[in-house]
């Protein structure tokens, strides 16, 4: 992977974080302010990314939409990995029968495509930001859990831990110094990859009208709204779409780079 791609990715993610934390800094106006006289304006100096059917500034809305995508992406991934670490560790350290049960459950969950499972969960809870987080988080957990389980399992029986035992290390020191850092290292890379994926899923749910409800500025929802006017106002879809792609690709590039570093160890 080229150095430029990595640097660019870090910049995009940094910008994304800034947009999420302090959107007014970059776009001082109100993302919800409508102005019917200014509807369907082309991108220009007055409106960098143009305006939508109600005359809302797309640029402002894209900037303010970062917050939702970030919180959904991070919260969902945190939920997924948290659940995965618990499940994976319990499975790896428990007696065979319990391990088997957890594994079968994980495999069953893994068999259902993540987006489909998210839809299923939302079918029970109803749409909204909270349910979207839970849905995406739950659907990513099985993959992470299997990684954690296999890591801990192979580490548990490793010569490295045996050597630590022979050197007289207690359980706590073995877990703290060797088991946890070595088990979580590959997870870190996968999680970075997962955030990009979670952003896409969150946007997909909103696009389907199952995530953040309109008129809140959410990239997926904006994409969906723009779809209706695609033939006369392409900018309504293009800019939120670009935002999703840029963030997802950057997170992936960073994740890959981290993953490569882990593998080379």
């Amino acid at each position: 992977m080229s150095r430029t791609a990595k640097i660019l990715s870090v910049l995009v993610v940094a910008l994304w974080l800034l947009m999420a934390v302090a959107p007014s800094l970059l776009a001082p106006s109100d993302p919800l302010a409508i102005n019917p006289t200014q509807a369907f304006q082309k991108p220009g100096l007055a409106h960098f990314f143009g305006t939508d059917e109600s005359g809302r500034d797309i640029y402002t809305r894209v900037i303010h939409g970062a917050g939702d995508s970030l919180s959904i992406g991070l919260a969902a991934t945190a939920l997924g990995t948290g659940l995965a670490i618990v499940l994976g560790t319990v499975a790896a350290l428990s007696p065979r029968w319990l391990d088997e049960i957890i594994l079968r459950v994980l495999e069953a969950l893994y068999a259902i495509p993540s987006l489909l499972m998210a839809l299923l969960i939302i079918a029970f809870t109803g749409p909204g930001v909270g349910p979207a987080i839970v849905a995406v988080g739950l659907s990513t957990a099985p993959g992470y859990a299997r990684l954690v389980r296999s890591q801990i399992r192979s580490l548990k029986n490793s010569e490295m831990l045996e050597a630590a035992t022979v050197l007289g290390r207690g359980t706590w020191l073995k877990v703290k110094n060797h088991l946890v850092p070595n088990a979580l290292k590959p997870l870190l890379a996968l999680v970075t990859l997962g955030i990009g994926q979670a952003v896409i899923w969150a946007a997909a749910l909103s696009f389907l009208g199952l995530g953040t409800p309109p008129p809140a500025p959410e990239w997926g929802a904006m994409l969906s709204a723009g779809r209706t006017y695609l033939h006369l106002a392409w900018w309504m879809s293009l800019f939120p779409g670009l935002a999703i792609v840029a963030v997802a690709v950057s997170a992936t590039v960073i994740g890959r780079a981290l993953g490569g570093k882990v593998k080379s160890l």
Binding site: M160, A163, T165, V166, L167, G168, L265
Partner: protein, 531 residues
């Protein structure tokens, strides 16, 4: 009879991306002769062997390269493929890796025939049985139908040799074919190679161990850094070596060398042997009636031994004899079904791990593959700081002096301080493992095949190091190995373990001079010796 020249190599050079691996070497191999290429890993011997099969993967240059009367310099892939297996073939090192575990060995052997001959299916089957019989495979009809995982170690080796012989090649290359095999399998492979020679084939043996080739080779070529430093008839090389490097290799062979005699010229001279006989002191380590079974299989059966302080007890046995299970029980890593282990007169097993932990510092362990026992995130310095601080920190700063001392003790340069153990050579890694084990100043070291993965010349320096540490610190060694010559050189007393039982034990000199048990006699007669 005039010997037919099978292989002529003149001024062979092989380089990889510009860096030379083999430089201008020349040799010939005649029918009915065994030529041994001997040298350390990285000396270019394997590359040389592979270039005879067109498999070197580098840029090959030579003024002559003729194989069975054909000029191989102009060979393209097809031409190479035609002679491989047919005129020249290779016995691979690891039978378990080289044979497909999912296919019957008969089919593995027949594969080569399919490529090279016009034999019909039933003729091929016939030929497979012939070669299996020629390598004295018991029950060839039955074995041909079995997969390699269903065969015993010996049968697997035979199958591997049969595979190389299927196309009836005139030249057979054995690339470290006996490395990592226990003494009986080694003897088997060597006797097979002798038969190949007697059948009038040319055999090219590749080995890092002069003792392995001593009794079979007609000619020996010693390689170092891509060059042949000395070549000639075996008797001349072994008895009157001219080159310093050949002498170094010969000196490194431990069999028949008395205890505490340096095997390597490079390491510092050993201090005088101490006169520490403390008859009143408790034994450093004693095991009584250790037993362990896996299912119905008795892995270790009532093993008892005593290791006096400052001494070395060698435990020798073949693979699967229960050596490693014994070591694991001694180290408290595996719970014995019955029996006890005492360390310096205190109960070590059976007891609880927290109880045992107080004694752990007194017993260190060295493994065959040290890399696996290091945390991959730690550098050399961090590993030692971790060991010195008892796991409290891996920060090197607070232990810089002690770490440097440890490195000095095992003759490692402090340049390696911030390196990862993965960047070290096999010998350096083992030294690092020894340094780490020494950090808590143990009374006993359990060494499980500590030098089996090392070249003979590197092995010599590590054995010398262990000798020196024992003399300096009085550490007792429980030395476990399949290699009789290493055990003979390192041990004060020996226990021979066979099928989980200690069948003979006593003073090393006495056991090696006059073994009582038939099994021990068999082991010793299979041992390759120089002296």
């Amino acid at each position: 009879m005039s010997e037919k020249t099978l292989i002529t190599v003149k001024d062979l050079s092989v380089s990889f991306e510009g860096s030379p691996a083999v430089k201008n070497i020349s040799f010939t191999l005649s029918a009915g002769r065994v030529l041994a290429l001997v040298g350390e890993s990285g000396s270019g011997k394997s590359v040389t062997a592979r270039s005879l099969l067109g498999l070197s993967g580098g840029t090959v240059n030579a003024s002559e390269l003729s194989i069975c009367g054909q000029d191989a310099l102009g060979f393209n892939d097809r031409a190479w493929q035609k002679i491989r297996g047919n005129s020249i073939s290779m016995i691979l090192q690891d039978a378990l890796m080289a044979l497909d575990p999912l296919r019957p060995v008969g089919r593995e052997i027949a594969d080569g025939l399919k490529e090279h001959s016009s034999l019909s299916r039933s003729e091929r089957k016939q030929r497979v049985h012939e070669v299996l019989e020629s390598v004295r495979m018991p029950d060839p009809e039955l074995r041909a139908k079995q997969r390699s995982t269903e065969l015993s170690g010996g049968m697997r080796q035979r199958a591997l040799i049969a595979q190389a012989l299927a196309g009836n090649p005139q030249v057979v290359i054995a690339d470290e074919a006996t490395t990592a095999l226990d003494s009986q399998l080694t003897a088997l492979v060597l006797s097979q190679l002798r038969e190949l020679k007697d059948q009038g084939r040319g055999v090219l043996m590749i080995s890092h161990d002069l003792a392995q080739v001593a009794h079979l080779a007609d000619d020996i070529a010693v390689m170092r850094q891509g060059e042949i430093v000395e070549a000639g008839p075996a008797a001349q090389i072994l008895n009157h070596p001219q080159h310093g490097y050949t002498r170094k290799l010969l000196r490194a062979v431990p069999s028949g060398v008395p205890r505490f005699t340096s095997l390597s010229a490079t390491s510092s001279p050993l201090p005088a042997a101490p006169v520490t006989d403390l008859p009143t002191a408790p034994p450093a380590l004693s095991a009584t009636g250790l037993s362990k079974s896996f299912g119905k299989q008795m892995a270790v059966d009532a093993v008892s031994f005593e290791l006096p302080q400052g001494k070395t007890l060698g435990i020798v046995g073949e693979s699967g004899s229960g050596k490693t299970t014994t070591a694991r029980m001694v180290l408290g890593l595996q719970k014995p079904d019955s029996g006890t282990v005492d360390l310096l007169g205190e109960r070590f097993t059976p007891t609880t791990e927290p109880e045992r932990r107080k004694l752990r510092e007194q017993m260190g362990a060295i493994y065959q593959n040290p890399l696996g026992s290091f945390d991959p995130r730690y550098s050399v310095g961090q590993l030692l700081a971790d060991a010195l601080s008892r796991g409290k920190t891996k920060r090197v700063e607070s232990y810089r002096q002690e770490v440097t001392q440890l490195l000095e003790q095992v003759e490692l340069s402090s340049v390696l301080f911030s390196r990862s153990p993965r960047e070290l050579s096999g010998g350096q890694r083992q030294r690092l493992a020894i340094a780490r084990a020494l950090a808590p100043k143990p009374s006993v070291l359990v060494l499980d095949e500590p030098v089996s993965a090392l070249d003979v010349s590197i092995q010599a320096t590590v054995l010398d190091l262990l000798d020196r540490i024992q003399l300096e610190t009085g550490t007792s060694y429980l030395f476990i190995s399949h290699d009789l010559s290493v055990i003979e050189h390192m041990s004060d007393s020996v226990a021979v373990i066979h099928q989980g039982k200690i069948i003979e034990h006593g003073d090393t000199a006495i056991i090696f001079a006059a073994p009582q048990q038939e099994y021990t006699q068999k082991l010793l007669s299979a041992m390759p010796r120089l002296r």
